[in-house]
Symmetry: C2
Subunit: 327 residues, 2 copies
Amino acid sequence: MTDSATTTRPPLSERVLQGDPRAIARAISLIEDEAAEGAELVRRIFPRTGGAYLVGVTGAPGAGKSTLVDRLITELRARGRSVGVVAVDPTSPFSGGAILGDRVRMQAHFADADVFIRSMATRGHLGGLARATGEAALVLDAAGKDIVIIETVGVGQDEIDIIRTADISIVTLVPGTGDEVQALKAGIMEIADIFVVNKADREGADRTVASVEALLSLETFAGGRWRPPIVKTEATTGKGTKELVDALERFRVHMAPVQGERRRARAEWRVRELLADRFVQHVSDHVLAAGEFDRLLDRIAARETDPYTVVDGILRRSIQLHQGPDA
Amino acid sequence: MTDSATTTRPPLSERVLQGDPRAIARAISLIEDEAAEGAELVRRIFPRTGGAYLVGVTGAPGAGKSTLVDRLITELRARGRSVGVVAVDPTSPFSGGAILGDRVRMQAHFADADVFIRSMATRGHLGGLARATGEAALVLDAAGKDIVIIETVGVGQDEIDIIRTADISIVTLVPGTGDEVQALKAGIMEIADIFVVNKADREGADRTVASVEALLSLETFAGGRWRPPIVKTEATTGKGTKELVDALERFRVHMAPVQGERRRARAEWRVRELLADRFVQHVSDHVLAAGEFDRLLDRIAARETDPYTVVDGILRRSIQLHQGPDA
């Protein structure tokens, strides 16, 4: 509790592995801040990850994902599973909604030590959010959560990548707007392992189900290939949640023999992301002189050079940086 | 027309600069395919870009962006501007909608040589779509289009980056779903230079306007800072399109003194993207042995190592690649 006590505490990674909620929160903050300690922490906990089952939940804004995830937590807890949630909450700085949202949502599971919910806000930084989300999921995994839910607005490419590499992807649709087919087409059709038609009490729910069925009927699901079921839910009342978790469990069993492939894809995505990020950082720290990047951008803006030529030049220098003195 | 005629044609970059629609189409395809010729083409045309005014149009799926953009084209053409459109259309491979959509949309402006519309479909490749979109806009710019509209589902980080670095960002909202505040919060609030409330004949349009007003009232717009106007449109009838283009023109005049900053941000984003991409490509072509990346991924999947350690190793070897034999 006091500062002097801090020094005798076990290191953060140990406390994360013990499932200490404050350590988990601190670890995710380090990751969000892109602190060097964050990277070191991920390295330390990584060997102890892989135990959690990663559930991706996506859908357009307003599809009721948050309420649905809350219902999922309750049902999973009833089945004895501990749950971690990483909500990618691209909330505007205007409203400060991410923090408020966390507070509201945590209250429902406040007394439950086996539930941990965390929102991650968007950063300006290229690819930063997607990587931070994946690493936050690793923290919850290492902390011993049985199920880690990643909830995101799944329309952007990065967000689709996050969801695609989860162990299961749940795509949430909402009827009654007349826009469900649009949402379906928004690049998330092919990543769905389960479709949820949420707010199923709304007019048009059956039409939405029929639209999805029609699209699925264009595909063949031969040779034991999983056919995504369509589950109708009313997240506000909890109706359909049990059926959704049942579908999730069926998928898990069905896919157990090939789960490794998906996890490998996740590892590949993570390594590529990290490699790109670290290289750009290296260039900025060690290759370019102070102010040089700005001057290059000025020259591009003035059309005196072009991005390809600039990048070729930087790349050539970066790769030869440690060469002999006669380089 | 015939194969033999091809050899005597001017190079593709020349034909793009002359505004030849087939050359533009071919150039964008090369970029989409990430062909080396695509990069070379961008390099050649780049000095001749910068003339077009880039208009980003974003909003959730189903907000009616495509119809709105069609109306924008008509109004801009009436004002004597030539128009290019790059529509980021993350359509599922299930429906093949991108191509179909192009055909339908092109028909309205079929006879008009000063309009060019092109959809770009999502790729699995990290960051690939965002970069391809930016480069397609460069092609249309070089081809002499006065206005280049980039239309995208603006919820993902990459997509937000694309729109953010356009000369102007138009955020499209749709009333009547009760979800407008959700959409507002989806990270696109702070990038809007103009808000469009589309489908303004729907119930709830005034409430949507009031929501945006309420959020804007939390901000100060002192010292000549642009306050995003809210324009109500009915894209299906064309109502409000004139007011929207008027607002766009006002913004353009207002921002003229600082337009350079935005274009610089665009250049920076492009260089970082490209640098990351090219480095990952270099590693895969020249640093890693055949099959080595796969083996590393296997070891990560088996928790024998972690992504940070792998990336550190690759990075160290990449940077020292051309070092002396005693390395």
